[in-house]
Amino acid sequence: MIARAARQLALVLALALLPALVSGAIQLQWRKDEPLAPGEVRAATVRMWGENVQWVDARTRAKYERTHIPGALLLNEDEWAKLVGPFLDAWDADKTLVVYCDGGSCDASQAVAERIRNELKIGGVHVLKGGWAAWEGK
C-alpha cells in the first residue's frame, strides 16, 4: 500500500517536474538571447566602445543625484527645457550617445533618445538594453 502510494507520488512529481524544467530552460534562454529593439545596445558592447561614449541619464534628477554612471549627463523629459541647454554645452559631437534609465519596464531612455534624434537631429544615439540594472551587472 505504502509502496504504491510512493510510486503514485513519484509519478505525479515526475509529471510536474518535466514542464517545470522545460519552462525554466526556455526562460533562461530567453533572458540570454532577448533580442535588441531598434537602437538598443548591450552593456558589454558599450564597454568595448570605451572612451568614445557619452552616457545620458534619462532618470529623474533625484536618482541621478543619488548615483549615476561616471560622466553621464542628465537629460529627462520632466525637465527637458531646463536640461537640454546644459546638455548641448557638454555634448561632444564626436562621441556616441548612449541613453539609459532604470531598466525593466522603464521607457524614459527610449523617449529621450527619440527626442534627441527627432528634435535635435543628432544621429548615432543608442539606448542601453536593461538600463541601470544592466550596467550594474544585475
Binding site: 503514485q8 520632466d78 521607457d107 543628432i122
Partner: protein, 218 residues
C-alpha cells in the same frame, strides 16, 4: 494507476489552470488628446471581479515616474467593482505618449494585466530642427530652422532674439500664422559658441509661449 491516483493527478493539473481572469477590465486601453498647457491628465481604469473568489491586487507598477496609479483598496470580493486611477504629469513632454501600468494580483496562474494610457500632447508649434551646430573651423554658413503651426492652429511669431551677439538670428515669414523660417549664423567658427534663440509667439493669448532654438559651435 488507481482511480484515486488519477483523480489526484487531474486535481493537481486543474489547480495549475485555475481561473486566471478574476478581474475583468472595461477599457484597459485609453486614448486621450491634450495640450502642453493642461499639465497632466487623469484616466480611470474600471474593473469588476467576475470570478468566484476574492482577488487581491498586489502591485501597480508604472512604466514612468511621471505616472502615478492609485487604488482605493486591495481586496475585491466576487462581483465587486473598482478602479485604478492613473495620473500622468506631462513635464516637458509633447507628441505621442504611451504610459503603462502593470497590475499584478494574487491569482496564481494569472498573467499581469497591462493598462495602457496613450495621450497625444498637441504642441501648437513645431520647430525643426531645435538645434543647429557647426564644428569649429568649418564654414559658418547660415542654417535654417522651420517653424510650423499645427494644422488647426494659427501661431504668429512676434520676434526672435539671440542670447549671444556672435550668433545672429533672422526671422522670415513664409505664411503668416502658419509657416516661418529662422536663419541662424555664427559670426565665425573659430571658437566655441553657445546661443539660445528665443522665439516669441502670440499663443496662447493669455500667456504667450516662448520656444527655444539652440545654436552651438563645437
Amino acid at each position: 494507476m488507481s482511480l484515486r491516483g488519477l483523480a489526484i493527478l487531474i486535481s493537481l493539473l486543474l489547480l495549475t489552470f485555475r481561473a486566471s481572469a478574476g478581474l475583468q477590465w472595461d477599457k484597459p486601453l485609453q486614448q486621450l488628446q491634450r495640450t502642453p498647457a493642461d499639465g497632466a491628465v487623469e484616466a480611470r481604469f474600471t474593473f469588476r471581479n467576475v470570478g468566484s473568489a476574492p482577488v487581491t491586487i498586489r502591485t501597480l507598477r508604472s512604466s514612468c515616474g511621471c505616472t502615478t496609479a492609485r487604488l482605493e483598496k486591495k481586496i475585491y470580493a466576487p462581483g465587486e467593482a473598482g478602479e485604478v486611477v492613473a495620473r500622468f504629469f506631462f513635464g516637458d513632454r509633447t507628441g505621442a505618449q504611451r504610459k503603462t501600468i502593470e497590475v499584478r494580483t494574487d491569482e496564481a496562474a494569472a498573467e499581469p494585466v497591462v493598462l495602457d494610457l496613450r495621450v497625444h500632447i498637441h504642441d501648437p508649434l513645431t520647430i525643426t530642427p531645435a538645434l543647429v551646430f557647426w564644428k569649429r573651423g568649418e564654414p559658418g554658413a547660415a542654417k535654417t530652422v522651420q517653424l510650423t503651426a499645427a494644422a488647426d492652429q494659427r501661431v504668429r511669431i512676434k520676434s526672435v532674439t539671440s542670447s549671444n551677439p556672435r550668433v545672429t538670428a533672422k526671422l522670415e515669414t513664409i505664411k503668416g500664422g502658419e509657416q516661418y523660417a529662422v536663419s541662424v549664423q555664427p559670426v565665425d567658427t573659430t571658437q566655441k559658441e553657445s546661443a539660445e534663440i528665443s522665439v516669441q509667439t502670440d499663443f496662447p493669448t493669455d500667456a504667450p509661449r516662448i520656444y527655444i532654438i539652440h545654436a552651438r559651435v563645437k
